[in-house]
């Protein structure tokens, strides 16, 4: 996973923008390709980096990997580009290829936008950031003629890139850590990259990537680790019970994804937050959001509720049916009493 350390150490070496107009069915059209990088000052560079941190470090960023079955040229372009330090001409050519592919992949449903490709370095590793910034249809973006070619000047792009509205964009970062290994992340601030719709999955498909951890595995890992933490580290019985209930309701809710960070924020008392977070990190459990899939833990989160005529309720884990025996006048529980609490 791309870490906060990766993002902190990230430095932008080159940046180029290409304009990708709306590609309506049956129309020809072409992307407007720059053939020179955009020069940016330290101020703009710092702001762009901040945007990358805000999105790729966010709760809605996902760890991704190249999909071996993809027909997208993006993975090969990324690998070739980040394998060695290359010259600027190759960077520009590669970015143009990415732009052409984006234009070909888009249809009438996709908004017009700017493809921004950044040659970056972090902690000595070559990396590439690929972003798509939405822009209003019809916005007048002109390439500027400068010596040696055409470029989008930063002054022209300022409103598109740096206004608060442009927190809405699709982003990705690929860090080449050597020996063919990558740490990569993706974020789509408009919709979940894990959504089942074509539109939702568009950005992942374009990049030729897939989310690294299967949702059902991520969900199970998080659930098991959280249960382990509550059992072994939470001493206060009331807090323990509350946390069990929060966990149950988080997994049974209609929410499509789980964000451990958000769960900590909403449900964990102050004095357990740091420890729980550290526990998840130690166990290699993601803190970022992941798509929820409870198919592997259904039996663990389903509970049988027994209610007596005078208001006694007993809940039993669905897969532990043998713990209770129901007789005509009584319920027999075969489990030693652990705590009694008044509520």
């Amino acid at each position: 996973m791309v870490t906060s350390d990766d993002l902190a150490k990230l430095k932008i070496r080159h940046i180029i923008f290409h304009d990708i107009p709306k590609h309506t069915k049956g129309t020809e059209g072409t992307p407007v390709l720059a053939d020179l990088e955009t020069e940016i000052n330290a101020d703009r560079s710092a702001m762009l980096k901040k945007r990358l941190v805000q999105t790729l470090g966010s709760k809605t960023a996902y760890e991704i990997e190249f999909n071996p079955d993809t027909s997208s040229p993006v993975p090969d372009e990324v690998k070739t580009h980040t394998d060695n330090r290359h010259d600027i001409k190759k960077f520009i050519k590669m970015s143009q290829n990415l732009a052409k592919h984006l234009f070909e992949e888009q249809n009438g449903q996709n908004s017009a936008g700017l493809l921004c490709v950044m040659d970056v370095v972090t902690g000595g590793h070559n990396a590439l950031a690929v972003l798509k910034l939405e822009r209003e249809q019809g916005a007048d973006l002109q390439l500027q003629n400068v010596k040696g070619g055409q470029q989008f000047k930063m002054s022209v792009l300022d409103n598109l890139v740096f206004t608060d509205g442009t927190r809405l964009f699709k982003s990705s970062l690929f860090i080449n850590t050597g020996s063919g290994e990558f740490r990569s992340a993706v974020c789509d601030s408009q919709r979940s990259v894990m959504a089942s719709t074509d539109m939702g999955r568009f950005w992942l498909k374009y990049l030729g990537c897939r989310v690294t951890v299967e949702p059902r595995i991520a969900t199970q890992r998080w659930f098991d680790t959280t249960i382990e933490f509550i059992n072994d580290h939470v001493t206060d019985p009331i807090v323990k019970n509350d946390l069990y209930e929060h966990l149950q309701s988080e997994l049974k809710s209609n929410k499509k994804k789980v964000s451990p960070n958000k769960f900590i924020e909403d449900c964990f008392p102050d004095n357990y937050r740091t420890e729980y977070k550290g526990f998840l990190k130690d166990k290699g459990v993601l803190l970022q959001a992941f798509e929820k899939d409870v198919s592997d833990i259904t039996s663990k989160i389903t509970r049988k509720l027994l209610r007596t005529t005078k208001g006694v309720t007993v809940t039993v884990p669905a897969d532990e049916d043998n713990l209770v025996e129901i007789k005509s006048e009584q319920i027999l529980i075969r489990d030693p009493l652990q705590t009694i609490e008044k509520r």
Partner: protein
């Protein structure tokens, strides 16, 4: 006279090289002082041509080649107690002559409040020794406190610079000069003692501990009042005893040193950086953002603007989104 003319010409030719030599020494010293976490102002330059000529006039036994201190480097420290560590550090990186502690050479009733002077040259195994051979390139290094510097600067052009210039003056004036020199020396001693004695309150102790790391990253001075305010606010986020907190922050710094150094290097060029970054407590903020960002955000917003915290978080690669 001809000697002076020739010295002048030679120095005008040689001076740029000696100036570069001074800058190399300055860079080396800055890097070492940073590594030790000691705040200091380090400057250096080759002597002006007037200064060389003046020396040859005043000390006729010298000729151009025998002048050892054609380059000068100065280290100004805050506290007297730091001088010893700095001299040890200097001895480790340079070939040093005898330390000349000017204040020790003064009689009880003599005027002057001066610094430590040492002749230094590169060690033979130094990578730069080929470019600046030690037999040719030497520099006079002065190590002084801010108070010593104040006296030195104020007295430089004045008649009370030394006893010779002071002797012809009427006794009441001489007495005032002695008193003034004494006041500066007492102030220096008191600053030093206060620095050692003040930290009994947790926020002071913590600030001192944080400064040790901070000055490894930058020589920028921070705002102590703001530091103490922020530390007071954030201290309740730690459940350990003060000593444990300091150990934890030391550990945290060591574990994240590479990232932290990188962040400070990049911040130099970021005009939109958080105002809290160039404060020693930035380490504490980063620590809490790393371990418990929810609590620090909640607490921070009770007193300060969240945008500043987000800026510092973003600098350390942490997103609030």
């Amino acid at each position: 006279m001809n000697d002076l003319e020739s010295a002048r010409k030679r120095w005008l030719t040689d001076r740029p090289e000696y100036d570069h030599f001074s800058q190399e020494l300055v860079s080396k010293l800055r890097a070492e002082l940073r590594r030790e976490g000691i705040w200091a102002e380090v400057s250096g330059r080759a002597k002006e041509v007037d200064s060389i000529i003046r020396k040859l006039i005043k000390k006729p036994k010298h000729n151009y080649d025998s002048i050892g201190d054609k380059s000068g480097v100065r280290i100004i420290l805050r506290y007297k107690d730091e001088i010893k560590s700095v001299l040890e550090l200097v001895e480790n990186i340079f070939d040093c002559g005898e330390f000349e502690e000017k204040v020790d050479a003064l009689e009880l009733d003599r005027v002057g409040y001066l610094s430590v002077h040492i002749d230094v040259k590169l060690r033979a195994d130094d990578a730069l020794a080929e470019k600046y051979p030690p037999e040719k390139f030497k520099a006079e290094l002065q190590v002084r406190t801010m108070a010593q510097h104040l006296w030195s600067e104020m007295s430089h052009d004045a008649f009370y610079k030394n006893d010779e210039s002071l002797n012809p003056l009427p006794i009441p004036v001489k007495r005032r000069v002695y008193l003034l020199a004494g006041v500066v020396e007492v102030a220096d001693d008191e600053f030093n003692r206060l620095n050692g004695e003040m930290p009994t309150l947790p926020e002071f102790v913590l600030l001192n501990a944080l400064e040790r790391h901070y000055f490894k990253l930058t020589t920028r001075r921070s705002d102590s009042e703001l530091s103490l305010d922020v530390i007071r606010l954030l201290l309740p986020l730690y459940s350990e005893e003060l000593e444990q907190i300091i150990l934890h922050l030391d550990d945290f710094y060591n574990q994240h040193q590479e990232v932290i150094s990188d962040v400070y290097e990049q911040a130099e060029e970021d005009p939109d950086r958080s105002v809290y970054l160039y404060q020693p407590e930035a380490l504490m903020i980063y620590d809490r953002l790393n371990y418990d960002s929810i609590s620090i955000r909640k607490l921070w917003n009770t007193k300060y603007h969240e945008g500043e915290l987000e800026r510092i978080a973003n600098a350390f690669g942490i997103s609030f989104d």
